[in-house]
Symmetry: C2
């Protein structure tokens, strides 16, 4: 295998990809090099920026430089000794409708120049196309993919099998499944550029996740044309490993300044919100007075610094098991980006299946967007499928979450233990104490040190959608159980009556006894007495 996965989080991973001439670490950005005009030389890309790989367009190189790159070899031709990927001209098909090259020619050319990673001549689907038009691109791409294996001669190049279908997800699924049957080493998701230009990151998320479901987990996925650092975290979280960016240079030419949160136009800036070597030595005003070429180089270097730092940030987040946190934060750069994260809820089982759910550190929960997190989905599944309350438990005592964790060590729980002592051993054995807590639902007190039930922080006050989730989970827990009755301590200030109402409804549906007591910090004694009475009543004791 040319790809080895070292670390995982969500669907993201840190991997080693072995190519013909170099071994590179993913997630990886391939800066696009145009040999006729490039603001940063390929040598500087490697030596100063540490770029392990770059990408260039074999179709354009073939048209312009013909045999020279074949004679010199691509690495010498570009003065670069890292991994070089080549695209095939498919993007030009999307833009211009056709190209002056056959697949046979461009496959042979990429073999001739000695690319490390090369691409077949697929047919991009594009954005505003009908289902029928999209079907044609998927079918033709697949036909070419199959034909390709009779054309190729060399065995030391990694070949990319692009997945098409655009926003037609059924086609994406079909394309992914069919392409993954062929022995490509890498897959790519085609034509996301227009999706991103239209800010439809929600559609992009569906496209990526649909493609990921179809291809083997251990094959890397390239996302064509995704070069803005604000969406790297999203793409990596959903399982993209490779990116290419012409944007760092194109934006620079247009006077645009990238950040991991968005883009400024240089002429709108008063401050450089960045500490890269370029930005700490200049002001926007000073840069504006420089010649155009110098401005372009400055911005290209800054843009690239930002892209590379963001990828290191993402890799560190994967190592820390905190890729969700990082992604959720980044996607607050634009509502359209956050909309993409909201789409993940409908793919939560897929994420949970492949993502680690036990981590070395706790997690941060902000609002219901986080309900799609693998840790939460995993807990819900485990509790539903494997958990059994203690056999002697007859009454469920539900108490609200405490500020301190683990719950059973919190000061509020001392009172509950005191209450249990007042009940006496025989009765208290029949009471099962559980906490209702955001974002999990019901947490049996005997489990509350299991990861992540104590290892998380929640933004307070809890949002209504999360409260509703906790209420639903509580109702489900009651319906699954075999308690005779429920006593609920309600904390109106935090939970209003949402959990109480759901519990009451569940009890009615299952014909269970139900009592509730309002939490009251002023009259603790009375509160405990009321709980005790309710428990005794439900247990048929005096």
């Amino acid at each position: 295998m040319s790809f080895e996965i070292k670390e995982k989080d969500l669907l993201g991973r840190i991997g080693k990809l072995k190519t013909r001439t170099a071994t590179v670490e993913t997630p990886l950005l391939f800066p696009v090099i145009n040999p006729s005009s490039q603001p940063i030389s390929s040598r500087r890309l490697k030596e100063t920026f540490g770029c392990q790989a770059l990408i260039t367009n074999s179709y354009i190189i073939k048209k312009r430089f013909k045999q020279t790159p074949i004679e010199q070899g691509l690495h010498k031709f570009l003065d670069y000794d890292g991994a070089i990927m080549t695209d095939s001209g498919a993007y030009q098909i999307l833009v211009y409708g056709e190209v002056e090259v056959t697949q046979k020619e461009i496959v042979a050319y990429q073999e001739g120049i000695g690319s490390d990673i090369a691409t077949i001549l697929d047919i991009p689907t594009g954005w505003k196309v009908t289902l029928e038009e999209a079907e044609v691109t998927v079918a033709e791409t697949l036909r070419r993919a199959k034909a390709f294996f009779d054309l190729k001669i060399r065995d030391d190049i990694l070949w990319v099998g692009p997945i098409q279908g655009g926003r037609h997800l059924d086609l994406v699924a079909q394309s992914a499944v069919e392409m993954s049957k062929l022995p490509f080493q890498i897959h790519a998701l085609g034509s996301p550029t227009e999706v991103m230009e239209n800010y439809r990151y929600d559609v992009l998320a569906d496209m990526i996740l649909t493609a990921k479901r179809g291809i083997p987990f251990e094959r890397p996925l390239h996302l064509f044309g995704a070069g803005h650092p604000s969406m790297f975290a999203l793409a990596v979280s959903l399982g993209c490993d490779l990116f290419d960016s012409a944007a760092y240079a194109l934006y620079a030419r247009e006077g645009r300044y990238m950040t991991e949160n968005g883009t400024w136009r240089l002429d709108q800036m008063d401050y450089f919100p960045c500490s890269c070597p370029q930005c700490v030595s200049e002001t926007p005003e000073g840069l504006q007075r420089k010649p155009a070429k110098e401005r372009e180089i400055f911005l290209a270097e800054h843009n690239l610094y930002v892209c590379l730092a963001e990828l290191r940030r993402i890799k560190q987040a994967i190592r820390d098991g905190r890729l969700w946190e990082h992604t959720e934060m980044r996607l607050h750069a634009h509502p359209a980006l956050l909309s993409a994260l909201k789409r993940v809820r409908s793919h939560e089982d897929f994420l949970e299946k492949f993502s680690p759910t036990v981590k070395s550190s706790g997690f941060f929960y902000f609002d219901a967007v986080g309900l799609a997190r693998p840790e939460i989905v995993h807990y819900r599944k485990r509790l539903t499928e494997r958990y059994m309350p203690p056999t002697e438990a007859k009454v469920l005592l539900l108490v609200p979450q405490t500020r301190n964790k683990p719950f059973h060590k919190a000061p509020e729980m001392k009172k509950i233990r005191q209450l249990m002592r007042m009940l006496g051993g025989e009765l208290s054995d029949q009471v099962h104490v559980c906490v209702y807590a955001a974002p999990f639902g019901v947490v049996p007190l005997e489990l509350d040190e299991v990861y992540p039930l104590s290892q998380h922080e929640v933004a307070m006050p809890i949002d209504i959608e999360t409260i509703r989730y906790v209420a639903e989970q509580t109702a489900e827990f009651i319906k699954r159980g075999s308690y005779q009755g429920i006593v609920l301590l309600n904390d109106k200030k935090l939970w209003n009556t949402t959990v109480k109402d759901a519990t009451q409804d569940a009890c009615r549906m299952c014909a269970l006894a139900f009592d509730f007591v309002e939490a009251n910090t002023d009259g603790t004694k009375e509160m405990l007495l009321n709980i005790e009475q309710a428990l005794r009543r439900q247990l048929g004791a005096k």
Copy 2:
């Protein structure tokens, strides 16, 4: 006036503060200098990092260096020609209970060395203190503040009047009002350090906002001991102008690596998620092998680069009118930080009063946390206090928001206009078309190009809390109006029945006619027909 406000957003501002020896731009960070041991020299702070100001502790300097700083003058003594602020030893009172200096001595000393900005010897309240203990600190600070004006001799130093009270907000309010009666040029909020150490940023937000309400808007506010870049955006948004940071150096000594989103320990890092001149030239592994002193300097420089970049980022956000967006994004670094933003809702009128509500660019709305935004509060107030529907309007036609904006130019509205033509001029004049839209509530179609009703982006699908807000606002709009009846086009997919139910309830309460039609993209013709029939019925026409 020594402080001039140049730009504003939320309660944050870009200002010019004129001191005895230098004019500096706020929001401003004063790096703390300890003349006995500092990882970055004060000269390098200015020349390489561009620091316009620094802070040092006059109490410690007095103890250690006695007369020398007086003889040399503080600027020469520290080899620094920017603005120098001095603290008084109050922090040492908080930590050690007392100091070996009187206020008279330390005031004279600060005058003697020639500080630009100097601090009286106040009594910090601290965190876990009772109301009675807190009262003593507030009263004694005030007594000293009053006494101070008889002690001071020089008139060219800016003096800081600290506000105490800790988490006891009534005391903070009282302290702010009393201190602001005295002719200090700058105020400071005392003892936030322990609040932050306990991650109670929600309490800190209340403290800052309470202090701000008491002091004149045009006096700058310093937040003592707030040196982590993850909370600068919060503090600036709430009206803090000045910060000091010993943290950049203290963290470095402990091997801690700051980012604008949190802190890592160097030994837990595999990647540097930063593009500062230090981080692009080294790896965590390489740095770990360096001598301790070199590591410390590296980290101190990195930490400072991050702090300064974040302040530039904040200033650019103020210039762009996007400080809310920046702050909301930053506060997704930790749930305790986001909790602070949630507190703003209970101060929304205060924010709205001082913040610009018309901007040159649109705004981003993510979820109900954003309901406290001045733009939204402002619209609600204007609509409630000043808006009158057209006098001939008898029936209100409520239609759901469209993806494209302004609403009246969206394709869906073509159909509504077509409907109006079907009704004919006389009847259609009696129909008032309004959109219900997140996050505003009701938007009369004739206003929909007024800022920011078309200049915003909302994360889809809309969160339930925002939907509820829209429903409430819709009900209020109906209750205030004098329509005879309401026809609602319901978009179940996005709004469920929340707006419909609220509208129906409002109609029942006001005894108005109510009809609703379900939006149906498949059967547009039927849908329009149903609306037309409802309108005709309500208008008493056939």
